[in-house]
Symmetry: C2
Subunit: 201 residues, 2 copies
DNA sequence: CTCCGTTACGAACATTTGTTCACAAAAATA
DNA sequence: TATTTTTGTGAACAAATGTTCGTAACGGAG
């Protein structure tokens, strides 16, 4: 991944990033040539090697066709899922209430979605009403994981526990009762595992 | 701000966004013309009106010179401040440990910075060790606010309280003692107010 | 109905821009 | 030192691209 660069190559790469940040579009070969005091052909060759080393992607014969391999932005767009209807397709785009951007260092790879926390059933785990939970989609969970589950057509957060060969979904609040998971429970679906929480004050 | 668009204009704008998302660079007039089954001149005029209405910015005579006014990304880069030395300049770039991107809907306008929570002094407010706190820089606070303060050269989170004309910085944990703020306390500095919390599991 | 903004075409023009080629100096490497 | 890689030039070509102009159909507002 990402071969090392020479001084000049780095200079060009930095200039590309600077240009995009400032202008909002990619630079042309001549833009770079002008800024770095070089000729188009020199820059052109440098861009090729930058591409060979994996730092940029060049669209052949297309103006301003430089695309950065590593995004300038380190954020991930996570769709926020609103109410979930009784039907089957839980993850259709139509259900998206919008997107929240989350720093990529906060979340693992995989399919992600976000849920708005409704109620105080998880205060024991320091998750509050109004928080936004980032979930990684997965059907299986380990004991102790906090998971998002579809219970009676509503998406909620619960702690998943295995005890005496029985599986439970436990709220972290003494005012609520755990739900036992039977092998044939059609009313309950595990949607994913909690990977991050975001709270706004 | 942002005048209303006709059906066609919206179509063009959506196509621009789609293109940028997919290709990483702005579309040319002819790219759009091809996708929408129109001629370059038609698209060209539509782009002008889109510019007039404030949705895009056109770089004259520059290839792929379409720049979106509203960023596709709704994230804000917030610098994470690491250890704070005894010296004065608390907010110099040298102290930045990195950046975290936060959805713009989560934070207000103003200067922001982030602190990594160290210890359990705020568990009572459901803020845990390892959480990242997003702070808006400000010197004054209202009673009840959770603030970031520089206490003995260390940045910590505390709840600010006014009682009987005295000011306190209170941990939300019975194992810790409140700190009284005297008018001439040089050891204590309020850095800002808590606006969001991010937790990684 | 008339006026006007919008949408539309097609052709032509002027720039911008990617790309190539031959050649060479400078720097790193063996 | 010999060899390879990197960096560099200048000119020229071909393609991509923004832009303009004249013309016209369509639909809503008055």
């Amino acid at each position: 991944m990402l071969e090392k660069l020479t001084k000049r190559q780095n200079e060009v790469l930095r200039e590309i990033k600077k240009f995009i940040k400032k202008e909002g579009i990619s630079p042309s070969v001549r833009d770079l040539a002008g800024r770095l005091g070089k000729t188009p052909s020199t820059i052109h060759k440098l861009l090729r090697t930058l591409q060979d080393k994996g730092h940029i992607k060049l669209r052949d014969n297309i103006s301003r066709g430089i695309v950065l391999t590593e995004k300038l932005s380190a954020a991930v767009m996570v769709p926020i899922i609103g109410r979930i209807p009784a039907g089957q397709p839980v993850f259709s785009e139509e259900l998206y209430e919008g997107y929240i951007e989350v720093d990529s260092s906060l979340v693992p790879r995989g399919e992600l979605f976000a849920l708005r926390i409704n109620g105080d059933s998880m205060v024991g785990a320091n998750i509050l009403d109004g928080d936004t939970a980032i979930i990684r989609k997965q059907e299986i969970a380990e004991s102790g994981d906090i998971v998002a589950a579809l219970v009676d057509g509503e998406a909620t957060l619960k702690r998943f526990k295995l005890q005496k060969k029985k599986a439970y979904l436990c709220p972290e609040n003494d005012n609520y009762e755990p739900i036992e998971l039977t092998p044939d429970s059609t009313q309950v679906d595990i949607l994913g595992k909690l990977v991050a929480v975001v709270r706004k004050y």
